[in-house]
Amino acid sequence: MGAATIDLEYMERASQGRFDLGWLRDVRSQWGVRAKPSRVGLTLRDIAVGSYGEVPDNPPLRTMAPRGSDIPADVPDMGYTINRKAEVWSDNVMELYEEAVSRQWSATRDIPWSDLPELPDDLEHAMCQLATVLSEVEMVAADFPAKWLWRINHDFVEAKMFLCTQVMDEARHTEVFRKRALANGGGLGRASAVVEQFLKLILDAETYDEGSALMHLLGEGIVLSLFRAGELLSPSPVEKKIFRLCMQDEARHVAYGTMHLRYRLERDPSMAPDFHAYLDKGEELISVLFTTPEVVEPTAILAAGGVKQAEELGLAAAEILRAQVIEEYLERCDRAGLSRRGRLCIPESLLVGVSNAKGASDGAAEVNRVA
């Protein structure tokens, strides 16, 4: 790459009105393209027309030039390392980006903080501990895409844009749970070494494939179920709204992760053993979460309505939640084309209530049923 220099001769010519106009005359990109807005506005899908809608499987260049533009030979190589479409793409990525942008919300404006009721100390402690755990885990789902974004070829810009929305979503989740912990007198609770070991596994992933499987499919699938449980267990409509709004964002990320893995495996089935190995490692570690007091006990106390009631009821609610989490995870793996039934790395004792955890997937089972 040559150093950029100021073209003094051009400046002289241009000042006399003798423009270059090469950019106007020698255009190879498509003239006359008119993308038509759909009912909600002009979407990414709407502008995926003609050659502009063609996303190459293996882009020949590593520049930041917009896909479909005329690219001079001296545009520098950006050193991207993710240059195969299948490494990041999913068929739903454009709609997920649009959905994310349309459905952004504000933790400051959209949560009725002043309606938070005074809670008994044990419930406030439990709510704050749950908020602490969630504030702890959510930012990794911003750090991970941020770590990989600059390495992704610019021809996959729609996937990059979706990952940018995820970064913003997770910032907001970190924010909203931190705010909840500090808004009602309880404050932050205790962080967890086990939780952070799983986060480190995601951050340290050697490939985007590995990290995405661990985070989008496994980790966020579990957090999505935790958000659903949080909505059920919330002591007031304020927390319920928080969990429902977070649930929406998380479900988008899981939808990307599931369909991305499917896209990846359809194009390279030989990678299945690699993904199994990633998930073996992740499941082993994440199983420990189900026996971590900082995670399990707040949900049990919120479900029962207090510490004393929880001591009487035990972990009945947590067990229902656990079965739900694992069942939905298995269904998503099936959908992605990577059946984990029969090779789950989760102890048998934690699989009570999970249907067909060890058997072959029939692929058409009705979902969201707890045995």
Binding site: R39, E231, L232, Q248, D334, E366, N368
Partner: protein
Amino acid sequence: MSREAVMTPPFPSSEWFGALAACASESLDFERLGFADLRLAFEMSDAPGGPRSFGVVLDGYDVTSEGELDAAASFDADATIRGPLATWEEMVSNIVEHGMADGAHTLNALTIAGLPLAIVSSDPVRRDRVYRFAETVQQLLDSAAGIQHRRAQVAEAIS
């Protein structure tokens, strides 16, 4: 104004779901949540005479009722919310009484364990759409609280 005009249509019925969609469409909150894309069937599994299903479509910022479904398959729902009629009636009564679902009667609370209501789909990614639009779906259902008020307003405007 006629008495019939201000009466809330019976639940479940195509008229009731139509009124629900109309109420939600007029809500500013509904639009502020952002656009949605979801085909949802509500099924009363033990209704007298056999299961009854009603279709609702969230499309962009619009919500439309497809009325009672003769054949659920032709509606091509992303997911079906299925459960006993009594649970549905209790949920609607709760919403009307409180102006919105209380903690035990949100759609998420009623479906999370698969009982008493279940979210059923042959495709988990399409099932997960219910979660992606969770707040919009809850706002839709909470619109049941406004059906009678809206019908009274419409009747007054006509008379």
